[in-house]
Each structure stands twice: as structure tokens, then as C-alpha cells.
């Protein structure tokens, strides 16, 4: 399938907040209660439509543990959007947001759109972080905010799509240098029968090396 733009996202936040579940809910529309611990990085992708344009989201789901922090840092580079996730039932994941945000701001390009997500909104009875606290944090740091549930899918679509809308607006405003792929945005290739987008067209190695 062809797309007008490809946006690269990174999902960050403490381990266990539901990053991998959010990705799975968004890409596969399902919830997997027991998810393997993410080691390193995993990828997901989905096509969405904004303003009548097909936009492909390529999402990098990272490992949250401290041990992976320095490797995760190297992935901010080249992301146009970040979902910063905490767990509304675990106060410490909210407390760590400042560290995450500092990391993200320091290692990403300054235009990266950051969406703050309070996940597990279905667990109202175990809530430790009030919605207002999330809102306040977002306001203070200039982030977009949303509470989601990877389990019930509440607001999951919106979280990913609203982030894309912000990025799209920034492109329209000319804020992003879309010709530099390191900014996490790629202009799509127009699909023709001889040039379908990646997948049906995994090119041969020899041709990539020999000059023509």
C-alpha cells in the first residue's frame, strides 16, 4: 500500500506500564494479558488516514528497564512522535516521567511531538494517579495528554492518531524538515505496478551495489 507520509514513533516509559500492549491493541486490535518482557526494541506498523491522506505509522516499542536506557536513548533520534506512558495504578511510574522527558528532549530533534499517556484507565478502583495530575503535568511541559486502556481499547486509536495529527500540522506549517529522514518523517513513494511500496519489492543486494 502506498502512503503520503511515513511517521516514526517511539513508545517510552517504565517497564510494565503497558507499552507493548498499547502497540498490540493499536496494530492488531487485541489485548494480550501476559506479554513477554520487551528486550531491546520491537516494531509495529499501521496505516491511518489524516486529511484524506494515507499515513503510515512505524512504531518502535522499547524496553523500559534502566539497563536498556542508554540503548533506548539512541532511538529518539529519527522519531517524529513519542508516546510517553505511565500506569495510573502505579504512582512511581508517574514520578519517573521527568527523567523520561529529560531524556527524550535531550536526545530527540526539537520538533518531536510527545503524547503523555496514562494507561490502564480500566483499573479505576486501583487508581493512584488522578487524571488532573496527568493533565497538569502535560500542561506544564507542553505535551498532549490522554488516558487510555490497552485492555478495553479506550482512547488507544485516538492517542496514536492525535499524535499523527500534530505532526501533520507541523509539516503543514513547515516546521519539520521532511527531507531529512533523521527527523522521523518520510515522504511516501507513489505506488505504481512496477514500484510497489516495500514488501513486494525487497530489492536484490547485487543491484544495490553495482552502479548502473
Amino acid at each position: 500500500m502506498s502512503y503520503a507520509y511515513l511517521f516514526k514513533y517511539i513508545i517510552i516509559g517504565d517497564t510494565g506500564v503497558g507499552k507493548s500492549c498499547l502497540l498490540l491493541q493499536f496494530t492488531d486490535k487485541r489485548f494480550q494479558p501476559v506479554h513477554d518482557l520487551t528486550i531491546g526494541v520491537e516494531f509495529g506498523a499501521r496505516m491511518i488516514t489524516i486529511d484524506g491522506k494515507q499515513i503510515k505509522l512505524q512504531i518502535w516499542d522499547t524496553a523500559g528497564q534502566e539497563a536498556f536506557r542508554s540503548i533506548t536513548r539512541s532511538y529518539y533520534r529519527g522519531a517524529a512522535g513519542a508516546l510517553l506512558v505511565y500506569d495510573i495504578t502505579r504512582r512511581e511510574t508517574f514520578n519517573h516521567l521527568t527523567t523520561w522527558l529529560e531524556d527524550a528532549r535531550q536526545h530527540s530533534n526539537s520538533n518531536m511531538v510527545i503524547m503523555l499517556i496514562g494507561n490502564k484507565s480500566d483499573l479505576e478502583s486501583r487508581r493512584e494517579v488522578k487524571k488532573e495530575e496527568g493533565e497538569a503535568f502535560a500542561r506544564e511541559h507542553g505535551l498532549v495528554f490522554m488516558e487510555t486502556s490497552a485492555r478495553t481499547a479506550a482512547n488507544v486509536e485516538e492517542a496514536f492518531i492525535n499524535t499523527a495529527k500534530e505532526i501533520y500540522e507541523k509539516i503543514q506549517e513547515g516546521v519539520f524538515d521532511i527531507n531529512n529522514e533523521a527527523n522521523g518523517i518520510k515522504i511516501g513513494t507513489v505506488s505504481t505496478p512496477t514500484n510497489p511500496s516495500i514488501g513486494s519489492n525487497l530489492p536484490g543486494g547485487q543491484s544495490s551495489n553495482s552502479c548502473c
Binding site: Q58, A67, G205, S208
Partner: protein, 582 residues
């Protein structure tokens, strides 16, 4: 732009090779298809094109590790990372295979073995991909071929008689080494054959480790590398005083030293100068009158014509004088030094698979005759390793085998790799994915970080990191050895039970017993013992006799087999024993 240029220097083959002379099928019809579509090693489970694309992000160079450590043999570690843009896809590949060899006599447990391979591709991903998907099948066939020689088939034969006496003395090691060597030849031949049907696959290096019968065999062709990282107590090092370890580096405490032992040797035009110059000297036709099989102490210049110059040729170890003539102004067959050396001015690696159609820059001469697919093999008998009880250092004593492509070794010394290995293991003492963490750390260290202008630098942000693809396998050797010891125990138990049963059965049937004594060289399962094989080589007529022996013996063997089946000694193998060919 600058980065582009530099990449070209660093890559093992100059990337802009002039288009390879098209074969007829290539130029007339449509381009030939890929034999295998691009993919990453299956154990990474990067299944969709989107995931493949994301994993090959040249700006970010994500470090990919297996999602599920559980599918890796011995929880071994693996990590990889794509190049910074010199080729669209990651041209490294890796593979492992855990398999068993069925014992010819079904009453014995199958012999397990484990294989790991790393392949660094150039001029395309095809050869490395083919090797990663096919090599283990070839190797398996070779091992199946020799299983009867590796294990005893006769109960009277404990321990197995080794070395084997054919006309020549043959040891088990030589059989396994031969299986590896011939697998290398066959893999290269497969790539040669595929040229007419599929798109040119390019070439690749190959380093392969086989764990079998309690030993570790490392076979290498090319400039990928394997080292054994060990962490030994000073006490232990003293015990092995005859073998001093000059390369030891200090570890976490003064009581231990970390040691890196090479298990392979890089094959570059520089390290293989002797082989290549000899070949050129004996077969000057291969150089098409364009190159010289000479090495000069000083670059020959026109202005020096007629003066004397020091040179080497063929396999010479030392230098000698000659008078410089116009002939000496031609290009030497090997140029440059070390990692930057080039064969026929084109390629920086001199062994591996493929490259059947690779031609030299400028001259267009075929390079393949100078390349070799012959592996050098280093092996270690793990039963000889001394381990101190209760010192909680089993990984240190048996060692961690690190296999990696040159992306790793170009920027990290063997000793540094060994040190990082044990530092990382110490950080993760119990985690199941601790070996993955080692692999990830090694890739992270050699990839480094991109600075503000997008150049990859080591952690100090000064020295250049590698821009090449990087792949690393981290194998805890003891984990294999432990499994082998369990197998060995089962094997000897099966052997003893079988012997006991046979004695019982012989007592019951004295008639059979007599036959048995008359035919001491035929085994219970109709297989022919080694003595018989030796005789057969001398006299083909004996075949009939052996056949008779087999038939007469099948009665007894049937009875025994039934009894064994009843007792369920054969480890779940309830099928009828099949006749195996002697």
C-alpha cells in the same frame, strides 16, 4: 558525502564493482529471481516487511535481539545491527541448528549436536542468506554419513575403537573436521550451481561452530571471527603454568583474569599473501598479464628502473634483490596492508562462499580462482577443561564463545570483547537473557552513537565506530557440555542394559549362543563391526559372508529388540529397528 566515501574504503569489497559481465540469460530475458527473498535470521521473528524495513533503519541502526530467548540453544545470546547506509539491507546473516543423529542401532539415544553460523555478505545479501538457510542441511547430511564411525554399534566394543584402522589411521576428530570441510566445499558449489537460475548472490565469509561429542569445532573462511572468552582464577592459571596466557586482562578482582583465545584466523589478502603469491607464481595465466605475484619492500617507480629493489615472491619468508624492470610497474596481486589490503585491487577478504562471477576493478579479471572456500578449523575437547568445584565460575572456566562479523572486530580488540563479556555477565547474574545482554552490549559498543552530524562514533564520541553491519553470537560453552554429559550417561546406560539383556537371551537359547560365538564380529542389529569393514576393504568377496552373518543373526536381534521394546529402554523410539547400510 564524506561519509559515503569513507564507507567505501572501510567496506570489505569496493562496492561499485563494474556491472558484472552479464550471463546470456541475464541480458536477454528478464532479470533472474532471488533464490531466497531477503529476511533476517528466523529466530528474530521479524516477519513482516514493515519490521524488516524498520530493522534496516540506517539513521538509527536499532540493535535487534531475539524476542524469545527460550528458542535459542543454551539461552545463547544474539544481537545485530545494520550498517549506516553502505547497502540497503543488512548483509550479515546468522543461523543455528539443534539436531540429532539417529544411531544406526535404534536402542541407543540419538546423538545431539548444535551448530552456529555467522556469514558476512558482500556485493549483495544473497550468498550469506543462502548459507544461513542451507549450510546446516549440508552439514547434517555429512554427519549422518559418518554416524556409524562416530559411535559404537557393537556391544562388545566398549569403548569405541579409535582410531579407526582403514588403510590409514582415522580419528573421530578427523571425521568431524572432514565433514565440516566438505560442507564448506559443497556450500560453495551450491552457490556456483545456482548462478544460472538465480540472481547473482555475491559472496560471504563463514564462521561456523559445531558442538558434538563433547567437543567444540570452529571452522572459519574469511574475516569474521570467533574467540573464547575465559575468566580464570590466578590459582587455575598457575595450575596450567605450561601454557602462559600473555593476553590476560584484569577482571573484577585481582584473583581473576579474563583471557581471549582466538578460535579462528582472519583471511585477508594481507594474511594470505603467501598463498595468493604462490598461486599467482604457479599459474601466471590467472593474472592475465595484468598483475604481478610479487611483493616489494618499496613501491616500484618509473624513475627507479634499472636500480635494485628488495622483493618477495611465492611463499618466500624473506626478501631478496632484483633489478627493477618495466614489468615490475604492473599492479601487484595484493595491495595495501592489514584490513585495507586488497586482492586484485578489489576485495578485502580471501576466503568464503560465492563470488563466482566477481571481476577485478579495471582489468575485469575473474577473482574466484584466488579465493578459497576451505575453512581453517580449531577445536577443543571440553572434557579436558579443569573446573574447580564450588567456585561459581563455570562460565569463566569453560568460557563464552563469541562469534562476530568484522563490524565487531574492526573496532573492539579481542581482549576488550572478553572483558565486556564478563563485565556484563556480572551485571546480570541470574537473568535468563544474560547472554543476550552480552551480545547487545557488544553490538552497542561497536556501533557507538551518531554525533550531531550523523557520524558514528565510539562512546567517547571521538574515535570512529564501525559503519558496517554487526552481528554477534554469545555461546556459554558449559551449557552444551552439561547436556553432552547427560547424553553420555544415557548412552552408556543403554549400552550396559543392552549387554545385560543379550547375556540373558544367550543363556536362554544356547543354540543362538553358539552362533553368536561363531560370529563374533556381527552385531546384534545386523551391522558389521569395524573389523569386518577393514577386511572388506581388502576383499570384496567377503560381502556375501557378511550378508549371511546378518541374516543368521536377525533372529537373535529380533528377539532382543522385542525385549528391549518391552522394557522401554530405547527412549521413546518404538519403531522397528531399520536395517542400516554397513
Amino acid at each position: 558525502m564524506f561519509n559515503r566515501l569513507k564507507n567505501r574504503v572501510l567496506t570489505s569489497i569496493v562496492p561499485d564493482i563494474p556491472s558484472i559481465t552479464p550471463s546470456p540469460s541475464y541480458s536477454i530475458g528478464r532479470p533472474l529471481p532471488d533464490k531466497f527473498q531477503y529476511q533476517r535470521p528466523p529466530f528474530l521473528q521479524l516477519l513482516t516487511p514493515d519490521e524488516l524495513k524498520a530493522s534496516a533503519d540506517h539513521n538509527v541502526r536499532p540493535i535487534i535481539v531475539p524476542r524469545d530467548v527460550g528458542i535459542m540453544p543454551f539461552s545463547c545470546g544474539y544481537a545485530e545491527c545494520v550498517n549506516s547506509g553502505k547497502s540497503e539491507w543488512n548483509e550479515d546473516q546468522a543461523a543455528f541448528s539443534m539436531n540429532v543423529l539417529h544411531h544406526p542401532s535404534k536402542d541407543f539415544p540419538d546423538l545431539p549436536y548444535v551448530y552456529f553460523g555467522i556469514f558476512d555478505g558482500h556485493a549483495g545479501y544473497g550468498a550469506a542468506l543462502a548459507a544461513s538457510l542451507q549450510f546446516h542441511h549440508i552439514l547434517h547430511e555429512k554427519l549422518v554419513d559418518i554416524i556409524e564411525l562416530l559411535l559404537p554399534t557393537n556391544v562388545n566394543e566398549t569403548p569405541p575403537m579409535f582410531p579407526l584402522m582403514f588403510h590409514k589411521t582415522v580419528s573421530k576428530d578427523e571425521l568431524i573436521i572432514g565433514a565440516l570441510e566438505s560442507s564448506f566445499y559443497d556450500m560453495d558449489a551450491v552457490l556456483a550451481e545456482d548462478r544460472t537460475k538465480y540472481r547473482n548472490a555475491g559472496g560471504c565469509t563463514s564462521v561456523v561452530t559445531l558442538f558434538i561429542l563433547g567437543k567444540m569445532y570452529v571452522a572459519n573462511a574469511g574475516d569474521s571471527r570467533a574467540i573464547l572468552s575465559q575468566r580464570l582464577s590466578k590459582e587455575m592459571i598457575k595450575m596450567q603454568n605450561d601454557k602462559p596466557y600473555p593476553n590476560g586482562t584484569k577482571c573484577d578482582s585481582d584473583d581473576y583474569q579474563v583471557i581471549a583465545t582466538p578460535f579462528s584466523f582472519d583471511h585477508t589478502p594481507d594474511t594470505e599473501r603467501g598463498r595468493i603469491l604462490s598461486l599467482g607464481k604457479v599459474h601466471p595465466d590467472l593474472m592475465g598479464g595484468e598483475y604481478l605475484a610479487m611483493e616489494y619492500a618499496k613501491k616500484p617507480m618509473t624513475k627507479d628502473l634499472g636500480t635494485r629493489i628488495l622483493y618477495k615472491t611465492g611463499n618466500m619468508k624473506g626478501w631478496t634483490y632484483k633489478t627493477l624492470t618495466k614489468e615490475d610497474l604492473k599492479m601487484p596481486i595484493v595491495t595495501g596492508e592489514g584490513k585495507r589490503s586488497r586482492l586484485l585491487g578489489t576485495i578485502g577478504v580471501t576466503r568464503g562462499f560465492g563470488d563466482h562471477d566477481l571481476r577485478a576493478l579495471g582489468s575485469g579479471l575473474l577473482i574466484k580462482p584466488f579465493l578459497s572456500c576451505h575453512p581453517e578449523i580449531v577445536y577443543r575437547d571440553l572434557s579436558l577443561i579443569i573446573s574447580l568445584p564450588d567456585d561459581n565460575n563455570i562460565d569463566g572456566e569453560y568460557g563464552i564463545l563469541i562469534m562476530g562479523t568484522d563490524g565487531l572486530w574492526d573496532v573492539l580488540e579481542n581482549e576488550t570483547v572478553a572483558r565486556i563479556t564478563f563485565e556484563t555477565l556480572k551485571k546480570y547474574p541470574n537473568e535468563k537473557h544474560r547472554y543476550t545482554m552480552v551480545a547487545q552490549e557488544l553490538v552497542a559498543k561497536s556501533r557507538g552513537r551518531a554525533n550531531d552530524s550523523g557520524h558514528w562514533r565510539l562512546s567517547d564520541l571521538k574515535a570512529p565506530a564501525t559503519v558496517d553491519d554487526i552481528s554477534v553470537i554469545v555461546i556459554p560453552v558449559y551449557q552444551y557440555y552439561k547436556e553432552f554429559c547427560e547424553w553420555e550417561k544415557k548412552f552408556f546406560e543403554a549400552q550396559q542394559r543392552r549387554e545385560a539383556l543379550r547375556n540373558n537371551s544367550n543363556n536362554k537359547n544356547s543354540n543362538n549362543k553358539n552362533k553368536q560365538q561363531a560370529m563374533p564380529t556381527a552385531t546384534t542389529n545386523g551391522n558389521v563391526s569395524l573389523n569386518k569393514i577393514v577386511e572388506n576393504i581388502d576383499d570384496d568377496d567377503e560381502d556375501d559372508e557378511v550378508q549371511e552373518a546378518k541374516e543368521e543373526n536377525s533372529e537373535i536381534s529380533d528377539e532382543i529388540d522385542k525385549a528391549i521394546e518391552k522394557l522401554n529402554l530405547n527412549d521413546g523410539n518404538s519403531e522397528e529397528p531399520t536395517e542400516s547400510t554397513a
